[in-house]
Symmetry: none
DNA sequence: CGTAAAACGATCAACGTCAATCACAAAGCG
DNA sequence: CGCTTTGTGATTGACGTTGATCGTTTTACG
């Protein structure tokens, strides 16, 4: 049985039953436990399921199903790096704090690691809000606006919003790119939404994998001087790393090998 | 049985019954009391239930009681009547229109019948927004605020909100009760949220089954004069029906027998 | 108010599951 | 053909989960 066949079978069973057991999969596929574990690890890295002791469950298990359509695509690229970065970011969170998460695949991975936290979380991502409401004790606040189908982002062209009363110590932001010009997005509405969120936070912590330190996109969300910390992976160019530090930006390197240790 | 399976089962029973006993869970799951206790402890840690001596109760019960106590439970009571009312309400919707749906089980049923519509929908219900984004072509707008876990209602104590720019021809509202005093809710925050939504709509269409024409609750959302139409079932008292019509309120009677025909 | 029963948290040994590592086989490529 | 790459299965020690037992606390009831 091919690897793809097994993984498809796993996902199908997950859809039907919401949860799968490793031992059952061994019986069904005929593959060894080691192989099935590797399959599950890959599927988890790409955000298509969540592993639990003894098997795996659907990422949207329990509540009403929620899997943003194109969301999955964004998750697949560099998923292991993003997982590591998300794990590192989650370590900075303490119970009782107020934080902001923008819409992005890295912040979504991070949200999955906040299950045992008790914080106030503001997010403009519908899937992240869903995840936190259903599976954690965190209080969840969302801005007003239209819910865009593609990625489940909540966007509004207006300034009035209930979140004007929100105050956060940290904002964790996953973005399109980062250059000496500042933090970059490709969509004007998204950039605007993130700038609005950012105005409610004290420290800005950027989460981005090392493939994004290149000039692209066109909308500057904020200058580098606004950035307090950058969490990235070992692939960050040395020049960029030193430039950031010379500007007073803290640079944290997340080790993909350690990511699993701090997993929820 | 996997740990997550048990925990999911516990939460489901809590949704249905509001309270669970450890001894019952032992009988159902086949696990030992120690294991069940550990499960309950974990679920309490993540805020998904509250432990009491002998078992656990839903976090919603005891707290402020929202319109849809545990959503699932509220859906089941008079579900056939609500389905009929929801079906009748959906007939009033036309593509291109802008409508508002408040958080409630009847409006949730209605949302399920809007899959083939193309409208602009404003709702303060997280599950309804989820349903429409995932399974319909409607544009979805939500107000800003905190997402309350119990029923997935989005509430905010502040006036500023992006929805101030929303304009709807109709608001479909499921409420706690209806009396000569007006449209009634039991929770002040919920009443406030609905009043805010209502200010963005031209016509107000009330969806409520005939068991709710009694004096209860304490918060008046709006007077009867604000109501344009009431959609209910044949069980509505004749006196109430005539009183409403004498005040210029249109009364539509949904036939539960016809409900199946227009089901999605 | 006092006693018995039930429920509770803590502890521990047994077991299942996990990640890491190794060796092997098949496929891709120069 | 030899080499690397990729997928696979078995082994191992570490870790998480489980159920039984203990002494303690809470509840129920006379």
């Amino acid at each position: 049985m091919l690897e793809r066949e097994r993984q498809q079978l796993i996902l199908n069973r997950l859809k039907e039953r919401g949860i799968v057991r490793v031992t059952d999969l061994v019986a069904v596929t005929g593959a060894s436990v080691a192989t099935l574990r590797r399959d599950l690890a890959k599927l988890e890295d790409t955000g298509q399921l969540r592993r639990v002791h003894g098997g795996a469950e659907s990422v949207a298990s329990g509540q009403t199903e929620l899997t943003a359509p194109t969301f999955g695509a964004s998750q697949t690229t560099n998923a292991d790096l993003k997982q590591a970065i998300a794990a590192r970011a989650a370590l900075l969170c303490e119970d009782g704090a107020s934080i902001i998460l923008n819409a992005g695949s890295t912040t979504w991975f991070m949200a999955q690691r906040l299950r045992s936290h008790r914080m106030q979380v503001l997010t403009n991502s519908f899937p992240i809000a869903q995840e936190l409401v259903a599976h954690s004790a965190n209080r969840v606040v969302v801005p007003g606006g239209e819910v865009y189908r593609e990625a489940g982002i909540i966007l509004s062209p207006f300034d009035e919003d209930a979140i004007q009363h929100f105050a956060a110590s940290m904002m964790f932001m996953s973005c399109y790119a980062m250059t000496p010009m500042g933090v970059i997005e490709s969509d004007p509405l998204v950039a605007r939404a993130e700038a609005k969120l950012l105005s409610r936070a004290e420290k800005l912590i950027i989460l981005l994998d090392s493939t994004k330190f290149e000039a692209r996109g066109n909308m500057v969300v904020c200058p580098l001087s606004r950035v307090h910390t950058v969490i990235t992976d070992p692939g960050i160019p040395r020049a960029m790393r030193e430039q950031l530090r010379s500007q007073g930006v803290e640079v944290l390197i997340a080790d993909p090998a350690e990511a699993k240790l701090s997993a929820a």
